[in-house]
Symmetry: C2
Subunit: 220 residues, 2 copies
DNA sequence: TAATATTTTTAGATTTGTCTAAATTTTATT
DNA sequence: AATAAAATTTAGACAAATCTAAAAATATTA
């Protein structure tokens, strides 16, 4: 089954939302996609006739297995292109999203398989997000946000959930990047902020908001 | 000025045709694009309002300077992507055209400039076609089809004008690729066929049809 | 040059994806 | 439970890109 660019964008957004809420509702999808609820309803009918959506009027909706596979195909393409843009073309990681949004809709199995091989079959994109394989299998990593890491433990940064330019700016300031090793020194109950030691740098304090968005895992 | 994918495809085809005939007419563009004459007329009106086309009803049409620059932008993107697909992803050169047809419509100046640098600013694509620079300047090469090379001269293959799978098959058979050195041994007046010597291979005879489609230049 | 053929354009329809405004259904609140 | 509010869907419109069929303009030829 093949999909239009617009269909793929809806599929991707539904997948994203249903990861968090199970069932998705019309308004939240409209908000996510910056479109109108009426447009969402129109597309839902189309996706239902394509048999990739469980959808009953007024009841909410979610992708079925075929729909999830379709979503993972798009996610795979998106993340492989992001990896390419950062690793090969030397883009900053916060500049690649919108270009990858276009590239992800190029439909050629062989292109993506060759790109995957050319890049060395990476498991995670430049933001630390897992890259599904061609069967839709997602690599797992035992990661936790910094707030949930106990004091005195040392961990390696594996992903960042807020990928805004503002967040990137903060992380640069703290010398935090993917792969950076961090030791948790102290937790402040008052505001949830953390004192941390970034390897090769002096100790510093990060807010709870930052700590909740930076994910890390224990040494492999 | 930016263009839709459809507009870009028309612009590219008009450019291609007007290189050969100067003025382009509706039916030949419809044939080239495998669409209907009525659709062409519709698009011509649009391109005229965008001020990139000289067009008078029933009189034929051609791109003006702005239109040519737009066409060269698309050609540049197409050929850079083809180069990427062959050199980096190891596609066969006859498999890349349709994928490059999609990639060429991704619009990001920075993407293309970075891709160009990543590829080492190539001057010619895998078919030997020149890659315009970002200003629309086309590298020139003193090339001639094999039929026009005098007997006893040795030349280097620089491009192939017919890029069909069938042609590729023939060239593989003759051990001819871009960069191959060929000596013209004899011309047969009867049917225009040529006896040639491909470097490191024994002499063979190619038809006039092949000779007219293989371009070559004298040693740099 | 008058009749015929070809080319090109117009008129009107279709599909996809979107929108606004109104109607309907569901949910929340008094 | 009745009413108000919120969420969702429907109805109808629009723009882009295409198409078919018919009309208009141009070119060919007898």
């Amino acid at each position: 089954m093949s999909f239009t660019t617009s269909e793929e964008n809806y599929i991707k957004s539904i997948y994203h939302l249903q990861q968090e809420t199970g069932l998705v509702n019309t308004n939240s999808l409209a908000a996510e996609m910056r479109t109108r609820a009426a447009s969402v309803t129109d597309m839902l009918k189309k996706l239902k006739t394509k048999k990739i959506l469980q959808y009953e009027k007024y009841k909410g909706f979610k992708l079925n297995e075929a729909g999830k596979k379709a979503a993972l195909d798009v996610v795979r393409k998106h993340r492989l292109w992001e990896f390419f843009l950062v690793e090969k073309l030397k883009f900053d990681w916060d500049k690649v999203h919108s270009i990858a949004e276009d590239l992800e809709h190029i439909s050629s199995e062989e292109l993506i398989q060759r790109l995957d091989n050319f890049l060395g079959n990476p498991s995670f994109d430049p933001h630390g997000d897992p890259i599904p394989d061609r069967h839709g299998k997602i690599p797992v990593i035992n990661q936790q946000c910094l707030s949930n890491i106990p004091v005195k433990k040392t961990v390696t940064v594996s992903s960042v959930s807020n990928q805004s330019a503002q967040m990137l700016e903060m992380l640069k300031h703290y010398n935090i990047a993917l792969g950076t090793q961090i030791t948790i020194l102290k937790k402040f109950e008052f505001d949830g902020s953390l004192e941390i030691k970034v390897l090769k740098h002096s100790a510093c304090i990060i807010s709870e908001q930052v700590a909740k968005n930076v994910f890390a895992h224990y040494a492999q």
